[in-house]
Symmetry: C2
């Protein structure tokens, strides 16, 4: 595997771009091949079995693009599919859950940690598992926030309705004396200021994207896969694929990435 | 084709059960095979090309179950896929859009008709086309309400947040002097009272499901496919299939159907 090969990053849709953005920022010399599964989005309310099947197809597709490593930039897919698919991938593969848990474990002072995410992620209990491995005494409170993804996709980021929805979802967490809250879905960093306003200054918000990019860099170095820096210029570093509705993807991507996506290609993911 | 064969009814998920319920009520002697595409729900924000591909697979699946006719109980699929797939189906097939337009055309007195639906349905302009064929002077105002489906799936049917969202979406329609409003997505009848409260008594709400069941009955009679009434007892008349998460489907179905779904089977729809 060549060190100048791209890193594959995938998500059910646009949310994973918050992770791609962090990789671009922290490791600007790396190429990225992004895939958003817009034909089958969302993943958060679907079963483990289905998410494993979808993720397997995406990994096969990314490998046809010659990626040297894969980032599962979707909490639900990381929760359901990562461990099962790692042996099949035969290239390094990381998700966002373990890095997110690690960041939260170092941020907490009172050992009480909240996690918000999709139904799939919360019901899997995966953040609790990882957190309790890192600090066995941790108290973890999870809460699924199914409407958050739709609100982000509607573009209602700073909005009285979004605030009301967030207040309802976070009510229980506010009462539970947590000092750290994991934004356990890649769409949620876009609601950061709303969530921060409700939780208050005493609660540290953890975006797993930051720590995921840190882990990725370590992983690449350990596997002698880090790019040596002799790369083409910025605009050719990134390529984007979706399984549906490229224009819609491009429109929402504008609010996440610091540049406009130019060439975006649509593929039929069921063929992989 | 035997007259005692079932009618195939499909939707992206649970929403089409509002249509199935109306068929059960109006034509209780007919058997129904329902399919909900829960592995790929929602359809409303996806492209024509993708919805055609998904609908084609579902029609193939329903035909393996021996259905004598098909009801596309999803406005987005009716808008995007019905005309293209009708020639391939080789059994009678109807959607919900044409019946809905007909009901609205007879209900309106001032010729000003509103339509609410998914982005796909509204952007297709299909209701406007049908309505203007029926009454060439009709003024049609469409409005996509993307969050409505998520609110229904969250179970927030009578809720202050749902009312605020509905007020925002319906604001423009309220100002436009319509006297008739089509609930152009099969999830929306579940928000009927919220929508009615906002639009006021002067606006007639049209649920295409009622007129779809009327059209279905006519279609069956014209094709000599109406069941003669020598059927098994109620509990064996209906069968349900989904492409994912049967338990979740069952839970939401409870609020739509007047009985609990017992045997529900999961299939892999991409195989068709």
């Amino acid at each position: 595997m060549r060190a100048d090969a791209p890193i594959g990053v995938f998500d059910s849709g646009v949310g994973g771009l918050t992770v791609a953005r962090e990789i671009m920022r922290q490791i600007p010399e790396e190429r990225i091949t992004y895939f958003g599964d817009t034909a089958r989005v969302p993943y958060g309310s679907k079963s483990r079995e289905t998410i494993v099947r979808y993720s397997r197809q995406i990994i096969r597709f990314l490998k046809t693009r010659g990626v040297k490593a894969i980032v599962v930039a979707c909490n639900t897919a990381s929760a359901f599919a990562l461990e099962e698919l790692r042996p099949e991938a035969d290239i390094p593969i990381i998700g966002v859950v373990k890095p997110g848990a690690r960041a939260a474990a170092s941020a907490t002072r009172n050992g009480r940690i909240g996690v918000i995410g999709t139904e799939g992620t919360i019901e899997s209990g995966i953040y609790t598992q990882y957190l309790q491995r890192l600090c066995p005494d941790a108290q973890v409170v999870g809460k699924a926030c199914p409407l958050f993804v739709s609100l982000v996709e509607e573009g209602w980021l700073k909005d009285e309705i979004t605030t009301l929805v967030a207040r309802r979802y976070l009510e229980e967490l506010k009462k539970s004396d947590i000092d750290t809250l994991i934004l356990g879905c890649t769409h949620y960093p876009l609601l950061r200021s709303t969530v921060a306003g409700i939780m208050g200054e005493g609660v540290t918000l953890v975006n797993p994207a930051y720590e995921t990019a840190v882990s990725l860099r370590t992983l690449l170095r350990e596997n002698n896969l880090a790019n040596d820096g002799h790369h083409k210029n910025g605009e050719n570093l990134y390529e984007f694929f979706v399984s549906d509705a490229a224009e819609r993807f491009k429109r929402i991507a504008k609010s996440i990435l610091p540049f406009d996506i130019m060439g975006i290609r649509q593929i039929q993911i069921e063929d992989y």
